[in-house]
Amino acid sequence: MKGTYLGEFEEVVLLAVAIRAGDAYGAAVVNEIELQMERTVNLGAVHSALNRLQEKGLVSSEMGGMTAERGGRRKRLYTVTAYGRRVLEEVRQLRNQMWDAIPRTAWS
């Protein structure tokens, strides 16, 4: 196990998988990220991030059925595991905690 450290991009991908719950495969994740972040991403980067997430046990995958729109090619559907969900929440909590710790005067 590689440890639970979550990179910035991995976090984004993991969130995208969560948003597209039930229909999260490579191209969909790319679309989601491009939509949300308004920047282009490489398919390769997404897939390798998904791969790493899976190795860390944050997502699980399954081959989906055939669809006409992909010329009969199947897609691999990713879902966030319970562990993945916990890690996401931890990250969020950590962020909030740090946000709260910023003293008001820092912004002035």
Partner: protein
Amino acid sequence: MKHTDPPRFISHFLHLFLPLHRAEELEGDLDELFQQRVNEVGLREARWRYMRDVVSLLRPSLMRRGKACLASTTTNNISPKPTHTTMLRNYLKIAFRNLAKNQVYSFINIFGLASGMAVAMLIGLWLYDELSFNRQFKKHDRLAMLWQFVKFDVEKVAYDIMAIPLAQELRSHYPDFESVALSKSRDVIVAAGDRKLLKTGNYVEPEFIDMLSLNVLSGTRFGNNDVNSILLSKSLAQALFDTRNPLNKLIKLDNKQTVKVAGVYEDFPANSTFDDVMFLVPWKFYAANDENAKRDRDEWDSNSYQIFVQLKPGADFRQVSTKIKDIRMKRDNPPGYKPEFYLHPMSRWHLYSDFKDGINTGGLITFVWLFGSIGVIVLLLACINFMNLSTARSEKRAKEVGIRKAIGSLRTQLIAQFFSESLLMALLAFAVSILFVQFTLPFFNQVAEKKMTILWADPLFWLAGLGFSLLTGLIAGSYPALYLSSFQPVKVLKGIMRTSRSATIPRRVLVGFQFTVSVTLIIGTIIVFRQIEHAKDRPVGYSRSGLIEIGMNAPELYGHYTALRDDLLNTGAVADMSESSNPITVQAGGTTDISWKGKKPGSKPLVMTNYITHDYGKTVGWQIKEGRDFSRAYSTDTASVILNEAAVKLMGFKNPIGEIVRRGSPNRQFKVIGVVKDMIKEDPFRPVSPSFFAVEYGNVNTINIRLAPQLSTNESLAKVEQVFKRYSPDSPFDYKFADEQYDRKFGAEQRVGRLAGGFTILAILISCLGLFGLASFMAEQRTKEIGIRKVLGASVFNVWQLLSKEFVILVVIAFCLATPLAYYLLSDWLQSYQYRTELSWWVFALSGFGVLTVTLLTVSFQSIKAALMNPVRSLRSE
């Protein structure tokens, strides 16, 4: 929906590198994104990003068959790739690790083989270029040029110039010819507006255009009735008119007649006889305007024109040659030089251009063979090295074989492993060699005076290259693959395995062969350069420094010799000036129409003709041996001649001064007033022909100028140019230096020398690389032995001697083999020169000594390193 496809070819890579189920999934994603992006950002952008995505997918983390991936692929059982690819990948990995571990060996091995391959490739390209000379012409197998053999004296001499009426004769009486074309090649000043260029072009009959299947790019070719028209090559049209349309523009030739541009043709290919032909003008134009051509129209014995013919399909060159051989002799008044006509087929023009006594003896083809064999030899040397080193290295891997076998490797698998390893090396070397060729080609082109490129698009080139790499890889890999794989694991792992003494014998034979070749090449190179030096050191008979020659192309230059001479001398930039019938480095023609007291009746020796002005001797700096130079003080000098030594010898004069020579058609008498030392105007490797010099102001075409030594060349030339512009404002000032022209006579020999020198250095380098590798390997193998010897009291010198002895013996044997071989080959080569150097013994000795030194240096580096090692360290292990 799909008018638009993604660049599918690139996604094939995915299938190549990724597991099947992965590729399917990814391709689906790629397609989906592509279709979506076509609508969003357009086809171009979508394609671009498709490719970018594919490239980004080819990353190791995805190529690895993720365990997690496979594990979770439970719902469907796509068969993973067969397991032996894992093994193949392991072989590759081991191969690369071996390369990385022994960097020196890998470098020597790959670099050596690559340079050998690069040399072979360069030579191959050169051969290809030479052999494809003139082949671009569609009808090349039916075209020929007329030559005639004439007998002036003892031997038949070959000329490619004919008489004008012969063309008509061939056309009307010999049905074997499909077409016949007269041609005259000349340097002409071509002027359009203020642009004036001196260019070579041909005056040809229209049949010539069809023979060469001229590719007319714009406009039309000229026909039988056109006279004042011209066809320009594309490059000349561009030089004269830039981008403007040249058609129907007027062009002035030699500042005299005007012709109209009828068309533009594609330049003749660089490796063809006609590559310098920049324009074509109808023969009729030449026949109507040129004085000589008018005079020669019906002259059967005035030979100055070329005749090209095209045979009918099925006609044989040889048979037709015999039919036309005696055309002239059958006519009235057969001339004394007995011309025999001969058809020289186009396919032989370039490589077989030498004639000796009426027989086609070859020519450049000798070099094709020479370099072909050098290429093969260098390649062979490199292969030998490669094999030697590979086999020597492989013994170190006996243990690996043992372990692999112990874990269950089959013999076939081991064979496959070693073969794939040596194939990998050979292919790497091939890739490196292509890089080498790419970098050295410009330089090579310069030395060889060619315009060659790598034949990227030629499948034959790749087939040959890859095929050769495969062969080398297989041969080099055969020893480890077949021999090592037969080891018994128990013995190897216990360490009982000993390589027998006999295994090194083939290796020694190969090294010996390498040295034989190297020594031969060294001797050859030295002799070639000595031969060039020998001819260069010959007394020339005149002084070349600061001597320039200017062709009198413009009519304005004729007719005011004294005024021009005075003007030139007044500039102070000119030491002397004269005119002559040909440049000092060229002998234009000779005559047999000459006689003297005591000439053998019936003999018709050729005596070279030189017409000069009074100041010629002083200008070129000839050396009077007897008598005096021409002088204006004697009005009788228009009826005098000066002979060279060769002519005096031919005529057998004891006291040449005052003798009478008769020549010319009214048979005038000329008195010999002087004898000059032989001047080398022709081939510096041959004896000087008998020649005479006579004063004739009307029969000149070249201005010779000796620049004053006080001024710099540039200053002088500028002043001379000013004078020329005054007399002939419309011609370009075009001059040649006599010393440069003279040096060109050595062009062929010098090129051979330089190339042979280059190849020799490479051959030695490759041999040394191999030797170095081998020596270090041997030293390593005997580390323990050396350690023990040192413990027992051997000195560094003893050890050095021990390790170097074997190689020295090899070199001595190689030298003994190479000496007679080189002697035989080179004396044969030197036979082809009448003026030749000697094969001195010291050349051989020097070569042998040189190779011995290089060998010792190479080997010593390793042996001294081994000898200096502390025995404690080499004996400590185990």
